[in-house]
Amino acid sequence: MSQAAMTSELFNKTITELAALLEAKTITSVQLTEAVIARTQDVEERVKAFNSFDTADALSQAAASDARRAAGQALGPLDGIPIGIKDVIAVTGQPLTASSKMLANFVSPYDATVTQKLKKAGAVIWGRLNLDEFAMGSSTENSAFHTTRNPYNLDCVPGGSSGGSAAALAAGEAIATLGSDTGGSIRQPAALCNVVGLKPTYGLVSRFGLIAFASSLDQIGPFNRTVEDAAITLQAIAGYDENDSTSVKIEIPDYRAALKEKKGPWRIGIPKEYFGEGLDPEVAAAVEKAIEFYKSIGCEIKSVSLPHTEYGVGVYYIIATAECSSNLSRYDGIRYGHRSANAKDIVDLYYKSRAEGFGPEVKRRIILGTYVLSSGYYDAYYLRAQKVRTLIRQDFLNAYNEVDAIITPTTPTPAFKRGAKADPLAMYLCDVYTIGVNLAGLPGMSVPCGFSSGGLPIGMQLIGQPFKEADLLAIANAYDSAHDWSKRTPNL
């Protein structure tokens, strides 16, 4: 392969492939980063995945990586790999906007724990990726700045809220990205953009430095081109953090080694509640074909029941909005962020700064959350929702008495057209299959499993047991390594 031909394709390679090229000194991190920058400059006008990027900063990180490697001090498979970061995760000296006018000019003075960990692994922190404002939405249409496009069809949405993270990876504008998932915000856009998206077990990855939407549901996770890349990225970011009281002290296994060590056969559960009304037939067919694959490699396929599934969306929109109404109180125009220029007094300052700084979906959720926590309504809404949440988790744990993992569609339909879901409720139903995993605190992945007749990607969701990401990744890898869906790239 000629040097030119090879570098021209670098931006579409996997971490595994690039790590080998870097280690063999066939390429440098600066070359790789330059290739990603060039690709970004080429396609970004169409994809609009980024809120901002800092090429000089990325190249200096890349040069540092090359220097490490030259000195024989390379840090591992992520050393020198450009990784894009959703614009809700703090990076020192870089903007942190949550795609909101409220934080349009905010620059973070500190690193999120995951940012620190990626830096320690040698990754090149690359760009601030677009999202639905404060991670509230399923299409990135709620970004205050611009809507990200689906690289497979620019008229379609990439999903959300981590739409920028999924689209940038699919378009070759990064080698891996980080997103956050509160009700499906990693898995849904991963499915819509033909990439692997992993939401870890609640508590596996530190939330410190992640702008909170709903604290009891939020988790940071990676977007990757393959399940193996997901294992590598998760390895770097997982683990107890003394700055996050909800992170859990457990041994972190070698996820990449687990892909080879754990061979199955597994017992796979199919919940009938996830294959009913509203599921697009092409999506259903693709997922059923994937289930057939598992059967073909000796897995036991069992029907399981998750009877409280139907309450998931309702419970989610009570708990998530209640928590967000409180989490977003800090954006008041006093210490940082947007401050209205026209305020008469302190109360007026709050009203006007927040009215001007927040978009309609954020306001809608703050109002809903404030209402469900109000005196006299707390028991009927928030407390009740928490009880149902416990039942939803129990459904999954009951199912795991019989199966090792559960397979469902990630989304009811492939990517939809921009502007197609103007009704907030219709948008909320995009997450109908992903919400339960957050409510139950479980790990969930979306893995590419086909394309629609219209050429749009389809993803299946694999749901694992708490803190058993090693098993979940192994199960996902069995499928992913035997198929080439994730190797397809969009025609941009």
Partner: protein, 485 residues
């Protein structure tokens, strides 16, 4: 109609920890504005709280000292309201599962006289919970500036039952509570630094009525005396309103201690809905028996228990104990000195400490720990007096020298020749009488008014004592003998 007052107190006590309640940045007072901050204190996007275990230790200790039930599990709740001194616009607090429940504060009411012990009462507590303090607003001519140094300092809220009957009881309650916190090393309770703050809920009702009257909350009571004065003022105000045929309005009033007046801050209609809910960023706290036992072992004896013990074990009078026991360092100092002095000498030790030592500290404007007089010095001094080696005037001189030099009493006695030798006063009196009998001329001259004639008598006495008699003592004894001669 006769009325009675019903008062409940909400006391906020800052816990003395190195770092803040939910982050590592230092807690403190008097630093330049906004220097005790970090991303967590400032509630920057993405930060998370992490509990300071030392603050939990301290509140458990407070609870154990006050006889509270320590909850096996407590949790953190968010109290949501907007105000610029609150960086997150919610305060992390404890709503329905506080760490301490029940318990009581023992108080002593004023006695019939200063030297007579007053009646003791137990004021029941509802709860003690832990939360984080807010920042401070400084209002300038055109702006209000906010200083977040105080924000996030661990803060206990100690809530009494509405069982306090008078301003005097409230005063006694705060005095006792404050001493308990200081004794436990939980807080320095300096009200000027805002380390102890008190709000009072006050209502009146006809005597015999069991239903509570409409309550008024009194805020900004900046000293224990202002608490007493403010409550007394508010009771009188409510009585005046009621007796004029008016009704008490539920409201929050601000008491101006200097002017002795109060004014309405806000009425009930503007009361907040705090939308409490469990903080999803923090885990509930489990306090097991081992944790409680560890803190119990650190719990000191409290002032009233100490007072009883001092009265029994050391036979100290009330007046001495009522000074000694309210200052833990002073009480410890006393006990150390009393033990070194040996039995039967505790009251003398107490007198030296309460009278001479305290005065000495006051004059020198120093703390007990800075004094050069150590408990061993006091003990030795008392022993020398008890043995007759030192008479009272000489002892005072020794004391002043000790304060200046830190030397031991015996060293000072030797240095200054203050020892009363012979120790047997009968012997000295014998020598005096012999000298008087043998020197009739000198006696007659002295009696006639010639002061210097006494020296003619001292010579033979000093000779008889082989020069070891304390000249001062000789002078005193000789004059006494001359007077009755």
């Amino acid at each position: 109609m006769k009325y009675e007052a019903v008062i409940g107190l909400e006391v906020h006590v800052q816990i003395k920890t190195k770092s803040k309640m939910f982050t590592r940045v230092a807690a403190g007072y008097g630093h330049p504005s906004n220097t005790l901050t970090d991303p967590v204190v400032l509630a920057l996007p993405g930060v998370l709280p992490v509990m300071n275990k030392a603050a939990i230790d301290a509140i458990i200790k407070a609870g154990l000292l006050l006889g509270c039930d320590i909850a096996p599990i407590c949790k953190w709740d968010r109290k949501n309201y907007f105000y610029p001194d609150s960086p997150k616009n919610y305060q992390i607090s404890q709503f329905d599962q506080p760490i301490c429940l029940n318990g009581s504060v023992e108080i002593e009411l004023p006695g019939a006289a200063r030297n007579i012990q007053g009646e003791h009462k137990s004021i029941a507590l509802t709860r003690i919970h832990l939360e984080e303090d807010v920042g401070k607003l400084n209002h300038e001519a055109f702006d209000s500036l906010v200083d977040y140094n105080r924000a996030g300092t661990p803060l206990m809220e100690i809530v009494s039952e509405p069982v306090i009957k008078s301003a005097e009881e409230a005063y006694a309650y705060l005095t006792s509570l404050r001493a308990t916190m200081i004794y436990g090393g939980i807080s320095d309770c300096d009200m000027e630094k805002g380390q102890l703050r008190c709000d009072a809920n006050i209502s009146i009702r006809p005597v015999g009525e069991t239903k509570l009257g409409t309550k008024v909350e009194l805020k900004n009571l900046n000293s224990i005396s202002y608490v007493r004065d403010g409550i007394a003022h508010e009771i009188q105000r409510q009585l005046a309103v009621t007796q004029a045929g008016g009704t008490i309005v539920q409201e929050t009033r601000d008491y101006d201690g200097e002017a002795g007046v109060s004014q309405s801050l806000r009425s009930k209609e503007m009361a907040h809905d705090y939308r409490y809910f469990p903080d999803p960023d923090l885990m509930p706290v489990k306090v097991d028996a081992a944790w409680k036992a560890r803190i119990q072992a650190e719990c000191p004896e409290l002032p009233f228990a100490k007072q009883t013990r001092f009265q029994t074990d050391y036979a100290l009078p009330y007046t001495l104990t009522s000074v000694l026991v309210w200052d833990r360092a002073l009480a410890d100092y006393f006990e150390e000195a009393a033990k070194l002095a040996g039995s039967g000498k505790a009251q003398a030790v107490g007198n030296w400490i309460v009278n001479d030592l305290q005065r000495e500290l006051g004059v020198a404007k120093i703390d007990l720990t800075d004094s050069r007089i150590r408990p061993a010095h006091i003990a030795e001094l008392v022993k020398l007096i008890d043995a007759g080696t030192l008479l009272s005037n000489a002892a005072k001189e020794v004391f002043i020298d000790m304060a200046a030099t830190g030397e031991t009493p015996s060293a000072i006695v030797a240095k200054k020749g203050l020892a009363a030798v012979p120790t047997d006063s009968t012997e000295l009196e014998g020598w005096c009488r012999e000298a008087i009998a043998a020197n009739a001329k000198s006696v007659a001259e002295f009696k006639a008014g010639k002061e210097s004639a006494i020296n003619g008598l001292k010579g033979p006495i000093m000779k008889a004592s082989k020069g070891k008699a304390n000249p001062k003592l000789v002078d005193e004894t000789l004059r006494r003998c001359l007077a009755v001669f």
